[in-house]
């Protein structure tokens, strides 16, 4: 990949285990530990948005928690603004975290239940800035307004807010200190389209004004296409496709990405019913006993014998992206998927048809 900007965050060959007996930098782990992230590399250039997509349980949250050093990683490197996070002291890490903020996936457990939202938002300002109490109060209100909440929310406890309201408080908190990099783990999935659009506009504007970089985990592919410049598609702990998001989401080079695109629901009952789903079938394999060869082979429509025994590497496909598939160029040559209404649709819908399709 060629970068226009300098990478602000660079992750190389990261391997992360979860479970018992896992310690930073240890090559040995307990026998029950699971190898959840398997040699992941990516770079985020300053001022860009890197998206991460992938099946539930594939290791996205684990990956970013390791990047933040909230959990240990076994090998690999995380470099943030030329500092190797693996080697820094806890103290240095705390000061770096000011520039490196995160919005956790679960807005219910990440907000302190017994603190008023005003307190939750002003605390980081108290710790890291010398704003006066009055100025902090103004900052809190403007943060609340930025995420579409009124000033009165400062006087509420998290449990007195709806799911989407809490999520927005978490976003406001992450932006409070004007960080350089924000890691957002499914930040808008709990939000309805309208507020989601508002939050995305806010994030985009901050990016334009302050050159913020985002690491953005989401399963909303339509959003990914418009918001992310670059995309990493993960499957079972590995990156299987990596490159410009408009290319990947228009002309995927990996069968898994292709099936992701094919199973997006469309908000139109008629289209939904007529669509010919080519979903990923079969069970999600266990990371404890990953399939041999290409780990996607048991569920892949393109698989041949070879895929069961040898493992494909990340290589450049004809579409110009990195793909971990022996047939990446053939996959990329398939007709684009984004018009679900055209080619795949059978002419006359029979009423029960979609019921049979599902079995």
């Amino acid at each position: 990949m060629t970068d226009s900007g300098r990478p602000i965050l660079s992750v190389q060959d990261l391997v992360v285990y979860r479970g018992k007996g896992v310690h930073q930098g240890n090559s040995t782990v307990g026998k029950d530990a699971l190898r959840v992230v398997e040699g992941v590399s990516f770079e985020a250039a300053a001022g860009e948005t890197l998206g991460i997509v992938g099946e539930s349980g594939c290791g996205k949250t684990t990956l970013v928690h390791a990047v933040l050093r909230l959990i240990p990683y076994q090998s690999g490197q995380v470099i943030f603004e030329d500092v190797d996070l693996g080697g820094v002291s806890e103290r240095k890490l705390r000061s770096l975290r000011r520039d490196l903020q995160v919005v956790f996936q679960d807005p219910y457990s990440s907000l302190h239940p017994r603190k008023l939202i005003g307190k939750i938002l002003s605390e980081p300002l108290e710790l890291h800035t010398d704003l006066s109490a009055k100025a902090r109060e103004r900052a809190v209100i403007s943060l609340l307004n930025d995420v579409g909440l009124g000033a009165s929310f400062a006087q509420r406890f998290p449990r007195e807010c709806s799911g989407g309201q809490r999520q927005r408080v978490a976003i406001a908190r992450a932006l409070a200190l004007r960080p350089k990099l924000v890691i957002l783990d499914e930040p808008v999935s709990a939000l309805d389209v309208s507020i989601r659009a508002q939050i995305i506009e806010l994030l985009a504007q901050l990016q334009r004004d302050r050159g913020l970089t985002y690491l953005f985990i989401s399963h909303d592919l339509a959003l990914m296409r418009s918001f992310c410049q670059r995309l990493a598609v993960m499957y079972l702990g590995r990156v299987v496709e990596y490159g410009p998001s408009d290319v990947i989401l228009h002309r995927p080079s990996h069968p898994y990405t292709r099936s992701l695109l094919a199973s997006m629901p469309i908000p139109d009952p008629e289209v939904e019913r007529r669509r010919n789903r080519i979903e990923v079938r079969g069970e999600i394999p266990s990371i404890r006993t990953p399939p041999s060869g290409c780990t996607f082979h048991p569920r892949c429509n393109y698989a041949v014998d070879r895929c069961q025994v040898s493992e494909p590497m990340l290589e450049v496909s004809d579409a110009g992206v990195l793909s971990r598939c022996f047939f990446s160029s053939e996959v990329a040559a398939q007709p684009p998927l984004d018009d679900a209404r055209s080619s795949d649709a059978p002419p006359e819908p029979v009423v029960e048809e979609h019921l049979f399709e599902r079995s």
């Binding site: 807010c161 959003l223 394999p285």
Partner: protein, 342 residues
């Protein structure tokens, strides 16, 4: 116009016998909160019914009152700070507002299963997920422990937890966000409930897993003839699963009807805006527009139609609050100017 051939899902149009008593019957639900001196009205005059075997979608902006509506069906809101009133509130034959604590407890997790938006509400962090499901099965079916264990593992693998037999022994925090959400679904259906309330059950899920979970939901619903109340802001999900849809705005129902009618020809400007603002992969070039303006919540004072500040059709008449009225038979909207909505 609506009819059998345009209905989204054939299941309910093919209901054989005369329709059974509704599993959920809500009339004029009002929910107020006290927050440090102020009173907020989170839900105002909401009425609807759900029959067995019917899936109803509840959509609406963040803070519009969806979760509060759902939680009041089982009286799950904090008693001290909440006031719930209704002309009638019946769930699976139980008069929820008059019921004893014991019969409410039987209802929750028994005849009514819930997938909470807040996953911590339902899973006990200190207990293995398998035994939490086993407990539900034992309590409601009287199966032996061994039998219940088998069933729990089967359920876990049906919701797509790999290696379910081993993972049943893990604690909630050892699962990913989406896995926890699916474990909640397994717990909620473990008692074979007559009603399933699912509050954003697939938000944390990628599209393929989501798709499998929705299939499972449809299967269970048909096998068990479950009534389903599905809350989601994802209109694609609603289109896939629900026969009917309820649209909330500012604590009120502003539109109801069959999913196909409402999606094809919305009768309320809010619904129309909602449908327009979704980025769609099947229409790459299509303009998506956010609904301009601020959301209202229960603590905002509103006179007349709550949508006025954001509505391009607003007219002087809108200073009076519109009631739900028929747009076409079976399709209602609360808007003075619904015939102008496009």
């Amino acid at each position: 116009m609506s009819g059998a051939e345009t209905s989204v899902r054939p299941a309910s149009t093919a209901l054989p016998e005369p329709a059974p008593d509704p599993v959920v019957e809500v009339a004029d639900l009002e929910v107020d909160f006290a927050v440090r001196g102020a009173i907020g009205h989170a839900v105002r005059g909401v009425s609807f019914q759900i029959r067995s075997g019917e899936a109803v979608g509840l959509v609406g902006e963040s803070g519009s009152g969806k979760t509060v509506t759902a939680l009041s069906l089982l009286r799950l809101l904090p008693d001290r700070t909440t006031r719930v009133r209704a002309r009638s509130l019946r769930v699976a034959g139980v008069d929820v507002l008059g019921a004893s604590a014991a019969s409410l407890a039987r209802l929750r997790g028994g005849a009514a299963g819930v997938v909470f938006q807040d996953p911590l509400r339902a899973l006990t962090p200190t207990r293995r997920v398998g035994s939490q499901i086993v407990e539900v099965i034992e309590r409601h079916s009287g199966r032996s422990r061994t039998q219940a264990r088998l069933e729990a593992v089967e359920l876990l693998s049906r919701v797509g937890i790999p290696d379910a037999r081993n993972r049943a022994r893990d604690y909630p925090h050892q699962f990913s966000g989406g896995q926890r959400q699916r474990i909640l679904l397994a717990t909620a259906v473990a008692s074979h409930p007559r009603l399933l309330i699912a509050d954003e059950p697939t938000t944390a899920l990628d599209v393929t897993t989501q798709s499998q979970i929705l299939d499972l939901l449809l299967d269970l619903q048909q096998d068990l003839k479950m009534a389903v109340l599905l809350i989601s802001h994802d209109l694609g999900v609603i289109a896939r699963v629900c026969d009917r849809v309820l649209v909330m705005y500012g604590g009120r129902l502003v539109e109801t009807g069959s999913t196909s009618d409402v999606f094809r020809a919305p009768g309320h400007p809010y619904t129309a805006g909602l449908l327009r603002s979704i980025p769609r992969l099947d229409r790459p070039g299509a303009v998506t527009s956010a609904i301009p303006g601020e959301a209202v919540d229960g603590f905002t004072q509103v006179v007349g139609c709550a949508f006025v500040p954001r509505c391009s059709l607003a007219a002087p008449v809108c200073t009076e609050c519109p009631e739900l009225e028929d747009v076409t038979p079976g399709h209602q909207a609360a808007c003075w100017r619904s015939e102008l909505v496009t």
